[in-house]
Symmetry: C2
Subunit: 408 residues, 2 copies
């Protein structure tokens, strides 16, 4: 008998009928002799509806009250799913964040989990109950309701799995698993059977929207076996796990991309300590995340500094940078609001040379100019002209032979 | 400086704009130098929507989970109202049942309040905050969410007012106060300025739908001054309070009626102990409330027993009574599914004679036959043919001169 934690996202519980289907799947897992803890999101569309109400009420809703409001979405789902399981003859009990409790810090709308109580859940499991937990929400030390940001239910699920030392944390979603790249761009994109936490972190942060990145960090930290799979069929999905020896043989696991990028260059900056900080501190103060940063080798005591920011923040960032560039006597600022980032990710590349140059050659073969390059141990990213993004993904996916052979 | 508890019902907070209006009224009370605690219901229609979801999910939803579901309605309102007050520049904080806490027994969907914590609310009030409380909900000793039945927010408000020893509990609704009778039936029905708890209890239970009856019991028990008034204007409403001396001068305060009645008679019952119980126990076991009961004086050792039940339970009740009437060798059962009850209520009638006969004469003057009569200290009720209900109300309202003179 295993302890299985299952998480169902908003699209999987989007209607009464879909909740019934989830109940059947949960019941089947229970019938197979497993203890089951289910974490659910709000019915799809509900959270957006609640957010719209807050925005209609006022321009800058208080974060504490925002969390009180949006956490009702998950509360509705746990009640309905528990009712359904009970109507099917199973013992079931719903839990809100404060009832478990899921203790978080007090950072409203982006709270981090500090501790999860086990006693109440264990008691119910021992009594034969299926336990249904509201994802996304917790409670802080003062008893305020907190939420964990979009996709927070993934983190709730992995954290509950970690606390209970569950055998597996199944994340049910509307896709079959993690793919080698976006199947909308590359037809023969292949489902990945196994992927390491680190690869998943790189994939997630680069735009594969299957798992909230924080949930992967949590899974890595506590060694939780995560199984990403579809709630609409019984296909095995993708296992996210610790690296094992046979994974080294795969050089590149996936190709990811993001078109949500803009590029800003500050030219001819005096090469002295503190200059970079004087550009990036005001951006950070404005809550703008800077991603790829490149600084050219200094010539004549002057540097060129180039970096990317989310496209939504582009105008705001440019204004800030222009102000501060002047203060440090930079030669000028150039920018491009339409760039994309394509990346290859794989633990195997650590022990193999030539991966990066293979990437550059593949892009060059299609005449795609590389504007910026960054690398990590298991990732190479290139910033390119936005209009080549899809082409670049296809070229790289082919070059590293990631596609299914059968469907070629 | 006073401590004012205000309660706004579903129609008063039915839209974002209406919540804004409530916020303005709350703010004005605060500006006047009062400490303010606001209790709100779910936005009108929301509770019905949630109940419909539960019923769509399964035929007999678990009561515990039903409460988890429906309590989200009030949670949405407290968040929106608090946001709005904050956006207007006021300190405000929302409270759910478990955050106060409002401790109740474990009777899901009809929980009764056992204890209300004051410390958290007091601390916020002392800090200058407006406190916004979710009505209708509480938490039991095991941490389960409970709700208090339809209209439960009235009881929440009065209970919070009692716990905090508030100077007044203002119940805002969509009518101007308590009227001498239903203004849809009698054009010149008059708003009552002051009414005693006992009169209000008789009015409420007889069909005046302004206040949940349990909230009046609570107000009476703890001596809470209740002010029922409209959230759409500034008119003074009706004060519900302890009896004071000048109230004795008013003989009859109001005329109420209920058309939701049916009558059953069991004829020629042997006059021996335990027979009445053998009829009423099975009705009580079936959760059927018996209202007016009359037993005729025994002749030849045989009694006639007549009583009323809610019309919705009529068929079920009749079936049960017919079964058990046979067992006690009654002579037969007759019934009338269409009767109404009209009542006059007033503390003044205690010390005055002739009130009942004035009522009977008034009804007789219009040829309305009285089928049953019951009296209490401050109420006389007559059961009549359903079709005369409105006419009887008008006749009695006139006979006791309850209407406004100006509008005649």
């Amino acid at each position: 008998m295993a302890l299985v934690v299952q998480k169902y996202g908003g699209t999987s519980v989007g209607t009464i009928d879909k909740i019934r289907n989830v109940a059947k799947r949960v019941a089947r897992t229970h019938d197979d002799g497993n203890d089951v803890v289910v974490i659910v999101s709000a019915m799809s569309g509900e959270t957006n509806k609640l957010v719209a109400m807050a925005n209609e009420m006022c321009e800058f809703p208080s974060e504490r009250e925002y969390d009180v409001l949006v956490s009702t979405g998950e509360q509705v789902t746990i009640a309905l799913l528990s009712m359904c399981l009970q109507a099917m003859g199973y013992k079931a009990k719903s839990y809100l964040g404060h009832q478990i409790p899921i203790l978080t810090d007090s950072a409203s709308s982006k709270a981090r989990i500090k501790e999860i109580g086990q006693d109440n859940i264990r008691q119910d499991l021992n009594g034969g109950s299926i336990v249904v937990v509201a994802g996304f929400q917790g409670i802080d030390a003062e008893g305020n309701i907190t939420t964990m940001g979009r996709g927070g239910s993934d983190t709730s699920a992995v954290a509950v799995a970690a606390a209970l030392k569950a055998d597996v944390c199944e994340i049910y979603t509307d896709v079959d698993g993690v793919y080698t790249t976006d199947p909308r761009i590359v037809e023969n994109a292949k489902k990945i059977e196994k992927i390491t936490y680190d690869e998943m972190l790189e994939m997630a942060s680069l735009g594969a929207k299957v798992l909230q990145i924080r949930s992967v960090e949590f899974a890595k930290k506590y060694g939780v076996l995560v199984h990403v799979r579809s709630s609409f069929n019984d296909n095995p999905g993708t296992l996210v796990l610790k690296e094992d020896t046979d994974m080294e043989t795969v050089l590149v696991s996936g190709v990811t991309y993001s078109k949500d990028e803009a590029k800003i260059s500050v030219l001819q900056i005096p090469d002295k300590p503190g200059v970079a900080a004087s550009i990036f501190t005001p951006l950070s103060d404005a809550n703008i995340t800077v991603d790829v940063i490149i600084q050219n080798v200094s010539t004549k005591g002057l540097n060129d500094l180039t970096f990317t920011v989310p496209r939504a923040d582009f105008k705001k960032a440019l204004k800030i940078v222009e102000e501060h560039a002047e203060k440090v006597n930079a030669g000028g600022v150039t920018s491009d609001g339409k760039v994309a980032k394509v990346s290859i990710v794989g633990v195997g590349m650590r022990s193999h040379s030539g991966i990066a140059s293979k990437m550059f050659n593949a892009l060059a073969s299609e005449g795609i100019n590389i504007q910026m390059i960054t690398t990590s141990e298991i990732k190479v990213s290139c910033v390119i002209d936005d209009k080549y993004a899809e082409l670049a993904v296809r070229v790289l996916h082919d070059a590293f032979e990631l596609g299914t052979q059968e469907e070629d």
